[in-house]
């Protein structure tokens, strides 16, 4: 990665490596995600994400995406058709918008990368109609994307992602005292308080692996 923030870029291959790293983390955190979802949902977030990631890996193995748009679309279509549940369409919408905004290009600058993330975030919001504080993946994604945007304007991609990871992790922790207003956890009413949101937890992994793979 180039040291100069203005010229450093991320290639499609790096994005693919990012998703691969994410898939590894999902495997590693399968039980944790499922346990979190058992407490306030239906106990399948880990297996949902794992099923989706495995399906995506098969596609990525067979056909390396040509550009950012192809990367986003390939992942989105597989997630949408393999996951189901709430997380399938939400993460699917994220990657579809990420790719569309990233465009048919082979690499993204920091600002372009942040714009792709923002588009993904907006797609999750418009698909799921949730907002900050509803105890969903958005509680990790919104602050992290904001940190990423600020970060790439002010410094390197590395620093931007470091800030995004911190923001995502804080967002995850912030879900604990919240009462869920969206998703299955909302059925629990006050009993959802005191538990960490599984979707926010998997979203934090998306940032952590991005920092590891795209950030250094």
């Amino acid at each position: 990665m180039a040291a100069d923030p203005a010229t450093e870029t991320v290639t499609t291959d790096q994005l693919v490596a990012w998703f691969r790293a994410f898939a590894v983390e999902i495997e590693a955190h399968n039980e944790e995600l499922t346990a979190l979802d058992s407490a306030i949902g239906d106990g399948d977030h880990g297996t949902n994400m794992r099923r989706g990631c495995r399906a995506v890996l098969a596609v990525l193995d067979a056909d390396a995406p040509e550009d950012v748009a192809g990367f986003g679309r390939a992942i989105a279509m597989r997630l949408i058709s393999a996951v189901g549940g709430a997380s399938g369409p939400l993460y699917g919408s994220f990657f579809l918008a990420f790719g569309t905004t990233g465009g048919k290009v082979g690499e993204l600058t920091g600002e372009q990368l942040a714009a792709a993330w923002r588009a993904g975030l907006d797609a999750v919001i418009s698909r799921g109609k949730a907002q900050l504080g509803d105890k969903t993946m958005l509680d990790a994604m919104i602050p992290a994307v904001e940190a990423l945007e600020t970060g790439v304007r002010q410094g390197s991609i590395t620093e931007a992602f470091a800030a995004a990871v911190t923001a995502a992790d804080e967002g995850v922790k912030a879900t604990i005292p919240l009462q869920a207003r969206k998703g299955r956890a909302s059925y629990l009413g006050e009993r959802s308080i005191g538990h960490q949101d599984p979707g926010a937890t998997s979203t934090a992994l998306l940032f952590r692996t991005a920092a590891d793979v795209l950030g250094p």
Partner: protein
């Protein structure tokens, strides 16, 4: 985990294989996990598609057939199916009169069916979707995911199936579905948790003297944990909020549906039905029709739900109309 299964990953597909072998009158698409009426598409008839996570059998696959669903999409265990399944089901049952999607109100089901409807419309199939949200255990609010779809789904599928069979238009069938949803409410209780095969252990733990009140059909914990009650107490806890929410008063006619969650035997459901009937008759509410059995389940969870649907003559006629599915059959 004590289950009659092989690999937890294969439960859904192997059960579908079993259904295909047991019920040659329906077509099972093993890849897409679809169960489709053998004679689909029925020309000129509104097609009805439903679906959802597996683990609720006989819902939905057991309700595919004349007088009920044209197709059911099976998701992974407790996980909504995906838009491509729903799109394919929609295509297969479109007899030219459009297709109704009956969607239980869960974020996953709603989002995936939304995507499927968008795709179907792009293919120029007329689609209407009605979201079922009858569970009074969950507070209703525009700021939340709203109420879950539970027992009323069975009633809506039966009644819409009859309406479609009688030649109603897509708008009419969808209106009928909304009528059922507006006039039906449910409440459920669990005595034990279920175990999702992939998780391998119970979703929640209940002490020997505890029950969960206001549970859904996915092993999600309920709104409140209570001391285990008698059937009479349980019936009271289930019936009262349903009656109140529906504003039922003396002289109203209802369909009373006592549903088992999968691990509760029929004999207990009749004990509960007896209590439900006593409570309703005490309020002057007339049970005009009833359904007692395990129709929308949550794997092997022990417990039950009560659904009441306020009837009028038309709904009663549609309920009585012939239905020929493995899960519900009469008049044929």
């Amino acid at each position: 985990m004590k289950k009659l299964i092989n690999d937890p990953e294969d439960v859904v597909s192997e059960a579908l294989a079993g259904i295909a072998l047991a019920h040659p009158e329906v077509t099972v698409d093993a890849d897409l996990k679809l169960i489709v009426r053998g004679d689909a598409p029925v020309s000129g008839k509104v097609g009805i598609v439903s679906g959802g996570g597996s683990g609720h059998e006989p819902l939905h696959g057991g309700f595919v057939g004349v007088g009920m669903l044209d197709a059911a999409c099976a998701g992974e265990m407790f996980t909504s199916p995906t838009p491509d399944q729903m799109l394919e089901a929609t295509k297969r049952v479109d007899g030219g009169a459009g297709v109704l999607h009956i969607v239980k109100n869960y974020t996953g089901d709603v989002l995936n069916f939304e995507m499927a409807a968008d795709l179907a419309k792009a293919d120029e199939i007329e689609v209407e979707a009605v979201v079922i949200d009858d569970d009074v255990a969950v507070q209703d609010s525009t700021f939340t995911a709203g109420r879950r779809g539970v027992g009323a789904t069975v009633l809506a599928e039966k009644i819409c199936g009859a309406a479609a069979e009688s030649g109603a238009t897509l708008t009419e069938v969808a209106d009928r579905c909304r009528q059922v949803n507006d006039n039906a409410r449910s409440m459920g209780i669990a005595l034990t948790s279920c175990t999702v095969p992939a998780a391998g252990k119970p979703t929640f733990a209940l002490a020997e003297d505890e029950m969960e009140l206001g549970i859904g059909i996915h092993g999600e914990p309920g709104r409140e944990r209570r001391k285990l009650g008698t059937a009479a107490e349980v019936a009271e806890l289930l019936v009262t909020p349903v009656v109140d929410d529906l504003d039922l008063t003396s002289g109203d006619r209802v369909l009373a549906f006592v549903n088992g969650m999968g691990g509760t035997p029929l004999i207990e459901l009749y004990v509960v039905y007896n209590e439900v009937a006593k409570l309703l008759s005490g309020r002057g509410i007339v049970i005009e029709r009833n359904l007692v059995g395990s129709y929308i389940t949550s794997l092997e969870m022990a417990g039950c739900s009560v659904t009441l649907l306020k009837l009028d003559d038309e709904l009663t006629t549609l309920w009585d109309a012939p239905v020929n599915t493995s899960g519900l059959r009469w008049g044929v």
